[in-house]
């Protein structure tokens, strides 16, 4: 039973991370229907940027964190402006392959500057954040990441619900043409959603880096884990991304705990295919209605 609870806690915290990573992905998809294969690299860029600021320049944690967020905001903006803007209206394969190309460009650059070794942040979380529930021990990093995840989810929930920009973004996601005719600047919304997505991605990247250490290959592969997560949750549902993330996290930890550790990496994809066959638009996704 204790083993079960330990797995449950692990699964929940990993799942929350997946959900958090998927958040930025869903944001891009929601507003511009671009399937971003470079998401894992955006995570990694955020993590490494923070590493440079914290370990090399030795800035205080909080300042470094803010600079990372600002930097990735600019990066997301630039990526949209330079690479994605010319492709508005192009067919799906070009958009997908463009993000694939971006992914390998970013990965190449990261490997060039930082190498493929595992790097770690200096210890900065106080040990007092750890939680001891009976015999189950939750390390401080998990507490901090859950806390951060919760705070940002709340912030984004409020942003989408009440702020004008958030409402614009939702309107574009809902119906691009209608939003445009009502005076929403659609291109600005695309740029903003990429910027915010990159910001969220870098934040998730930092959390991932704190937990697992920072390695280009590891963090990039999380970007592919995002696909089963968002399919489970529906590609355009932000709440669904979190639920999907938690389900995938639980699925992974329980599979590796009870069945076989090697099955851990492939089980999300098996579930994904099954779900797609039963519900083609994901569990919480909206069915697309098409006319010829």
């Amino acid at each position: 039973m204790e083993f079960f609870f330990q797995l449950l806690i692990n699964g929940l915290s990993i799942g929350l991370l997946y959900g958090l990573s998927a958040l930025g992905f869903v944001m891009i998809f929601k507003s511009s229907s671009v399937l971003n294969f470079a998401h894992g690299q955006l995570l990694a860029i955020g993590a490494f940027f923070f590493l440079v600021l914290v370990s090399w320049l030795e800035l205080p944690i909080f300042v470094a964190f803010l600079i990372t967020l600002a930097g990735s905001f600019v990066l997301g903006f630039a990526v949209e402006r330079i690479f994605l803007r010319p492709l508005i209206g192009e067919s799906l394969i070009f958009v997908i392959m463009l993000t694939v190309g971006l992914a390998s460009m970013f990965k190449g650059l990261l490997l060039f500057f930082f190498g493929g070794n595992l790097q770690t942040y200096p210890e900065f979380l106080p040990q007092s954040m750890a939680i001891q529930l009976g015999s189950i021990y939750i390390p401080p990093v998990y507490v901090a990441s859950s806390l951060m995840g919760g705070i940002f989810l709340l912030l984004f929930g409020l942003f989408f619900k009440y702020s004008p920009q958030g409402i614009f973004m939702r309107s574009v996601a809902d119906n691009q043409t209608a939003a445009m005719s009502l005076g929403v600047h659609v291109k600005k919304v695309f740029a903003l959603s990429w910027a915010i997505a990159a910001l969220v991605a870098s934040m998730s990247g930092i959390v991932l880096g704190i937990i697992n250490g920072i390695n280009v290959h590891e963090i990039s592969s999380i970007g592919l884990k995002v696909f089963p997560v968002v399919i489970l949750g529906g590609l355009d549902s932000i709440g669904g991304a979190i639920i999907g993330g938690i389900i995938i996290g639980l699925l992974e930890t329980f599979t590796s705990g009870y069945i076989s550790p090697s099955l851990r990496d492939v089980i999300p994809y098996i579930v994904l295919v099954v779900i797609l066959l039963i519900k083609p638009y994901g569990l919480f996704g909206l069915a697309e209605i098409e006319r010829v």
Binding site: E90, I93, G101, L111, L272, L276
Partner: protein, 356 residues
């Protein structure tokens, strides 16, 4: 032989046969025949062993890229699992050659058929899914196949890999690069002919109709699920055929090469070459294999200079960067790929000096 005709100055086609012809003019056919004669008669004898090896790899890649172009470029179904199908073909070929003991000439097509069946299984989601949902389903297929290749120990020998016997054809041992050159390029010529003719039949037209608008195609009475599965099957056959050839050429295979990266490489070939263009697939294969080899060459050259060796080590990572950059630049600047570049060059020469 018919009278040699030039390109007319406008569109003077009078019946569908002219529109469907593979070669628009007899000059085109003549140049193709001369090109093939040079390819088989001269190229292998003037090229160094290393260049022959590169050519062989290009030929194998071209076969697989052709298959993927049938699926993506002609049928419009984006698949991220082509690398895995290539791996299935390699393993099917290896297992058929060792455990079952089929000879070379039977093992390679049989591997293609096995891969076609596997491809059709992973094409089943296309019945309900399309666009990016299908892309994600094929991505899942890639990971599932990779997992099966590594973990089905009793069949694939897991990470140990399989050694293949030497290939032999019509009593000849196919064991040198030169002999493989002939096997690979004769196969490539055949599958290119099959592919370009396939696109002129009702099957090819059905594929193109599905690509352009699958609902409309269904409304016109095309059974789209059947044709989508068929397209997955044909494209996987090509991948499996190429994979089995590759396995025989390498003589030893392991599970490592058949990753998502390989799938991406094939899609890159199709895009850089030109979507929906048969010669484009071959251009793309030449470009990507050439890019890989020249980047490797640059890296190696840098490693040999003591002053640059540290930089050369880092260059290895820049290969990935260059690969991504090539994809991005082609998509942004020439989305129709090298086939379009080739067409522009040709028409420039044709219309010179009075182009308008």
């Amino acid at each position: 032989m018919k009278r040699l005709t030039f390109h007319p100055c406008g569109n003077y086609k009078e019946h569908y046969g002219q529109e469907l012809a593979i070669f628009e003019t007899d000059f085109g056919r003549m140049w193709a025949i001369i090109g093939i004669a040079l390819l088989f008669g001269a190229v292998p004898f003037i090229s160094s062993p290393y260049f022959l090896y590169v050519l062989n790899m290009t030929g194998i890649a071209a076969i697989a890229a052709l298959g993927l172009n049938i699926l993506i470029g002609f049928t419009g179904q984006i698949s991220l699992g082509h690398g895995a199908f290539f791996g299935v073909g390699a393993y099917a070929g290896a297992i058929l050659a060792t455990t079952v003991g089929l000879p070379f000439w039977a093992a390679v097509p049989a591997a293609g058929i096995v891969t076609a069946l596997v491809g059709m299984v992973f094409g089943i989601p296309s019945g309900r899914l399309k666009g990016l949902y299908l892309t994600i389903a094929t991505l899942a297929g890639q990971f599932i196949i990779e997992y099966i290749l590594v973990h089905w120990d009793s069949l694939t020998k897991g990470t140990m890999g399989i050694m293949l016997p030497a290939a032999s054809l019509f009593g000849f041992e196919v064991n040198t690069d030169l002999r493989f050159f002939y096997v690979i390029f004769v196969s490539l010529t055949c599958v290119t002919l099959v592919a370009s003719n396939l696109m002129r039949t009702r099957y090819g037209r059905a594929f193109i109709a599905i690509r352009d608008n699958d609902r409309a195609a269904e409304g016109m009475g095309i059974p789209i699920f059947f044709y989508k599965l068929l397209s997955f099957g044909i494209s996987s056959f090509y991948a499996g055929f190429a994979g089995a050839l590759w396995a025989y050429y390498m003589r030893a295979i392991s599970t490592e090469p058949f990753t998502l990266g390989l799938s991406v490489e094939y899609i890159a070939m199709v895009i850089i070459g030109g979507l929906g263009s048969i010669p484009g697939s071959i251009f793309g294969a030449v470009f990507i294999t050439g890019l890989n080899e020249s980047l490797r060459f640059v890296t190696d050259a840098m490693m040999n200079f003591p002053a640059l060796s540290g930089f050369g080590l880092n260059m290895a990572s820049l290969r990935e960067f260059a690969f991504g950059l090539a994809i991005v630049l082609f998509i942004l600047i020439e989305p129709k790929g090298l086939a379009e570049v080739w067409r522009i060059i040709r028409s420039t020469f044709r219309l010179w000096p009075f182009s308008y």
